[in-house]
């Protein structure tokens, strides 16, 4: 990946996706739409037949697990979303201009991932038709006691915050680039620009900074280090979920997943729109190094849990940990993380080992590992409860096709959302190319 002479990034670059649409975009869109439709059909089938089309069952004498892939995927998506917004907030808050080109991508990832998480709540429920009426009615009381009510609150809050955040920064870009954007979309742009005046830029910059601060502060306290793990760690009867370590664990998983997602988005758009002078090797390498740090944290926290569970633990935590270690899915997840870490350390020591493609593969690996770990986490908790008398009840859980198709379906939907936004707004901030620092030398081999 040695680079030739350095092109200067300019505003024309970032609006290219809006002006030109290649056949690859249509092919990609068509494929994603097809997958999404297949899943929507499967979901329709589930609505009609009930959750019996999943392979979930009752824990206890039922011999199954009542939460499975749907909840695992839900926390995975929320993790990506929370991680994404933390990344973007960090870029803004700490003025990490090097990463400014990926800031908005991370935000867009957050929005679409949150939407998928929300969708999973609906898909998971036995009576989604009652969602609004039932929740609203008792909300002032349930919010005092039910971690699930906290989750719904936080996801809504986060959706609003992220949308505000993106909305605010988009206004500036849209205003500046307006003349060069297609006329056909001008009604949309006028809506975005309602009441815009140049004077607001400074105010908005300050607001965005405060929002970023809020996000950074809230993330570990409340969001992915808080209410999401509390959903599980506050249930004392499931030793697999127990413990205060779940907060940091969830947060590390969120950050690794989100970084991987951002690397994948950067890589794909770089190929599609010749953005190699924007998503330079230097940027991607930096992201890869961060991925290494958080992956290490992830593995470290797993180690803590396993050792604490195994060494002279009470009977049940030991049972869970032994089962977890013996599970091939867990072995695979940790194996992937080990390979990823090996690559990241190698490229940190020896730059020639780095390549964008390798980082891309590592990112996919991490996403698969975190998703498997999340689903397994949900499963293990319910499969090895404190009340051990049910152990002899035969049972197993392999997600059904309907459940599995939801993974493909939500990934496809997420891609669709991103592809549509790509055609409407610049996915790289104008600031990132305007103020592009020239001494951003390429790291070349």
């Amino acid at each position: 990946m040695a680079t030739k002479e350095q092109k200067e990034p300019e505003p024309a670059d970032i609006i290219r996706p809006i002006l030109n649409t290649s056949k690859w975009w249509y092919i990609g869109f068509g494929a994603a739409a097809a997958v999404a439709l297949v899943w929507l059909a499967a979901f329709g089938f589930q609505l009609q037949e009930g959750l019996i089309v999943t392979n979930l069952a009752d824990w206890g004498s039922g011999g199954g697990v009542t939460w499975g892939l749907y909840i695992g995927a839900f926390i995975w998506w929320v993790g990506i979303a929370h991680g994404g917004i933390i990344l973007s907030a960090a870029v803004r808050l700490f003025g990490m201009t090097k990463y400014q080109p990926v800031a908005r991508m991370a935000e867009l990832l957050t929005l679409s991932a949150l939407a998928m998480a929300g969708l999973y709540i609906v898909v998971h429920m036995g009576r989604p038709d009652r969602l609004v009426t039932s929740v609203v009615n008792a909300y002032p009381w349930t919010v005092q006691t039910s971690p699930l009510a906290w989750d719904v609150t936080v996801i809504t809050l986060y959706f609003v915050m992220t949308a505000t955040y993106i909305g605010l920064t988009l206004r500036y870009d849209t205003y500046q680039l307006r003349d060069r954007l297609p006329d056909i979309l001008s009604p949309l742009y006028s809506v975005v620009l309602i009441g815009y005046s140049e004077k607001e830029d400074e105010v908005i910059e300050r607001m965005v900074w405060w929002l970023a601060l809020g996000i950074i502060v809230m993330a570990p306290l409340l969001l992915h280090g808080g209410v999401i793990p509390w959903l599980f760690s506050l249930i004392p009867s499931m030793p697999g979920w127990d413990g205060a370590i779940q907060g940091p664990q969830f947060l590390s998983i969120a950050l690794t997943s989100a970084l991987s997602g951002v690397i994948i988005l950067a890589y794909s758009t770089r190929i599609a729109y010749d953005w190699d002078h924007i998503f330079t090797d230097r940027v991607v390498r930096g992201l890869t190094n961060w991925l290494g740090i958080f992956s290490l944290m992830f593995v470290w926290l797993q180690l803590q849990q396993v050792i604490n569970g195994l060494f002279a633990a009470h009977v049940r935590p030991e049972v869970v940990m032994t089962a977890k270690l013996a599970n091939p899915v867990y072995q695979m997840a940790i194996g992937i993380m080990a390979v990823v870490l090996a690559y990241i350390f190698a490229q940190a020591v020896k730059p020639s080992v780095f390549s964008q493609t390798r980082s891309l593969i590592a990112s996919f690996g991490v996403l698969i590992a975190t998703l498997s770990e999340k689903i397994l986490f949900v499963y293990e908790g319910l499969a090895y409860p404190q009340f051990g008398l049910y152990d002899q009840v035969p049972g197993h859980y392999t997600p059904s096709l309907v459940e599995l198709s939801s993974l493909a379906g939500t990934v496809a939907l997420c891609a669709i959302i991103f592809m549509v936004i790509l055609k409407l707004f610049p996915v790289i901030e104008l600031h990132a190319v305007e103020g592009h620092d020239d001494h951003d030398e390429e790291v070349s081999s």
Partner: protein, 484 residues
């Protein structure tokens, strides 16, 4: 109780030297400043506020709080014009929720009309009002002021509730005949594998004999399942402590099942095996049933021998509909007295009695004369008197240990997973299964699969296989679905 109180009573964490308020010393100082600006005693205000915090924490009763300050307040304000606590009920607590505490307090109908409310509020000082009554209102609202269509998660206090239903189950009498399982299925029309009543046959390390554990829902007084429900479908009926699911509200998130330590919940994954039309019920929509006045409702439900609604007109009894959670209900339609079966009985107990075992004893645990309490007492007496014991049990050799030197009960009793603080309302007589107890399905005296019931529903011990079959049977579309 005042500030110069020197004894070492347990101190509330807020009650430190520096600051008692959760918002911290700064906030407290600000409040004090505001109080000092008024012409009234700032120390008294702050002290009241401090105790109000303790009131919230439950360390102080309302009466104590009131009594403590009545005289002080009279001196200070000439007359105690604070709202008496009955008046507080008039405050719209919903409004209080959105922090308009001051405003809602001004709605209180004070007895003394000489002083306008506004003036009164001024007198009390903004600080004391916020800290004191603001805190009081939060406390109050949690416990009582929830509207009728939202249920609570705790039984009412002992003197306010009518009953506390529960069971004493004598495991030493159980022989694993599973009559109770059938009895429950007959009563509730549950689907295959949803064994609301389940009986374990298990081996324990320290005994050779076969052990049984009869496991209905424990109807916990501190029920984690009710706490976590995001819509309060799962709730604890305050008048009698029954833990029920409102089938009209439940969204099927299954968090209750996740939070219950005992694994007693059974979700309705597909269509129920027993159609609604076969259940004994009043042919009315739940909202119509609820709209009737109490007497009318009771009359209608009794005429229909209804087994679906409870006395509040909520659909909480019999098997749940598709997509909704079910579990042992302790038969609320019986406890509300509108079925042909007497109040104070449950179907599993009836079946157990009929089988001649009488291991299950259901009744009001608050009532010393109730069946479970008298049974437990009697069993304890028998256990204490070796003579009676040997008369009662044929095999006297098994009980050769000398009688206890003092009359302490030797009868082993336990509650399941008591240290999880769920306050279960089922007490077992017998030995608690040890940490390494293992279920031995192959040794069941009567297999679940051999049970027959009134509905012709198939019975199985474990449900997973059955549900998997259902998934496959419904899998038409899945065949054609490509993995993307």
């Amino acid at each position: 109780m005042s500030a110069d109180d020197t004894n070492d009573e347990s101190k509330h964490p807020y009650e430190t030297e520096d600051s008692f308020h959760p918002l911290g010393a700064e906030w407290e100082d600000q409040m004090r400043d505001e109080l000092e600006d008024t012409e009234f005693d700032a120390d008294l205000g702050m002290e009241m506020a401090r105790d109000a915090q303790r009131l919230v924490a439950g360390e102080l009763s309302e009466e104590e709080f009131y009594a403590e300050y009545h005289e002080d307040i009279e001196d200070e304000f000439e007359v105690d014009e604070r709202p008496v606590f009955d008046d507080i009920d008039d405050v719209d607590l919903d409004a209080a929720e959105d922090e308009s505490m001051l405003e809602s307090l001004t709605d209180v109908d004070f007895e003394n009309e000489d002083t306008s409310r506004r003036e009164m509020m001024k007198k009390m000082g903004a600080g004391a009002a916020f800290l004191g009554y603001g805190a009081y209102a939060t406390y109050d609202q949690d416990d009582e002021q929830i509207p009728e269509n939202v249920s609570g998660i705790r039984p009412a206090d002992k003197d306010e509730r009518e009953h506390r239903w529960g069971m004493v189950i004598d495991l030493e009498r159980c022989d694993g005949c599973l009559s109770c399982v059938t009895g429950c299925i007959n009563e509730n029309g549950t689907s295959t594998g949803a064994n609301w009543m389940y009986v374990f046959t298990y081996d324990d390390e320290d005994t050779d004999q076969q052990n049984f554990l009869v496991r209905p829902c424990q109807h916990c007084s501190n029920a984690p399942c009710a706490k976590v429900c995001p819509v309060r479908a799962r709730h604890v009926r305050s008048k009698d402590g029954l833990v029920l699911t409102d089938y009209e509200i439940c969204i099927g998130c299954r968090y209750c099942q996740v939070a219950c330590p005992y694994g007693v919940n059974y979700f309705q994954w597909g269509e129920p095996d027993v159609p609604m039309s076969d259940l004994e019920n009043l042919e009315m929509r739940p909202e119509e049933v609820r709209s009737l006045d109490e007497e009318e409702r009771h009359k209608k439900l009794s005429e229909a021998n209804d087994h679906v609604y409870d006395e509040r007109g909520r659909w909480t009894d019999s098997r749940p509909p598709k997509g909704v959670m079910g579990k042992c209900t302790m038969c609320p339609s019986r406890q509300d007295g509108h079925t042909d079966n007497p109040k104070g009985t449950v179907a599993c107990q009836d079946a157990c009695d009929e089988a001649g075992m009488s291991a299950i004893h259901f009744g009001d645990l608050d009532d010393p004369e109730s069946r479970p309490n008298t049974y437990l007492e009697r069993r304890q007496e028998v256990e204490e008197s070796p003579k009676e014991k040997s008369e009662k049990f044929e095999d006297a050799e098994d009980y050769e240990q000398p009688p206890a030197p003092h009359p302490v009960s030797q009868l082993p009793t336990f509650k399941l997973l008591e240290d999880l603080n769920t306050e279960p309302n089922v007490t077992y007589i017998g030995n608690q299964p040890g940490a390494n107890a293992t279920e031995t399905p192959e040794e069941r005296p009567v297999p679940y699969e051999s049970l027959s019931n009134d509905w012709g529903v198939k019975v199985v011990a474990e449900r997973k296989e059955h549900l998997d079959y259902g998934a496959r049977a419904n899998g038409g579309l899945e065949e054609g679905e490509g993995e993307a």
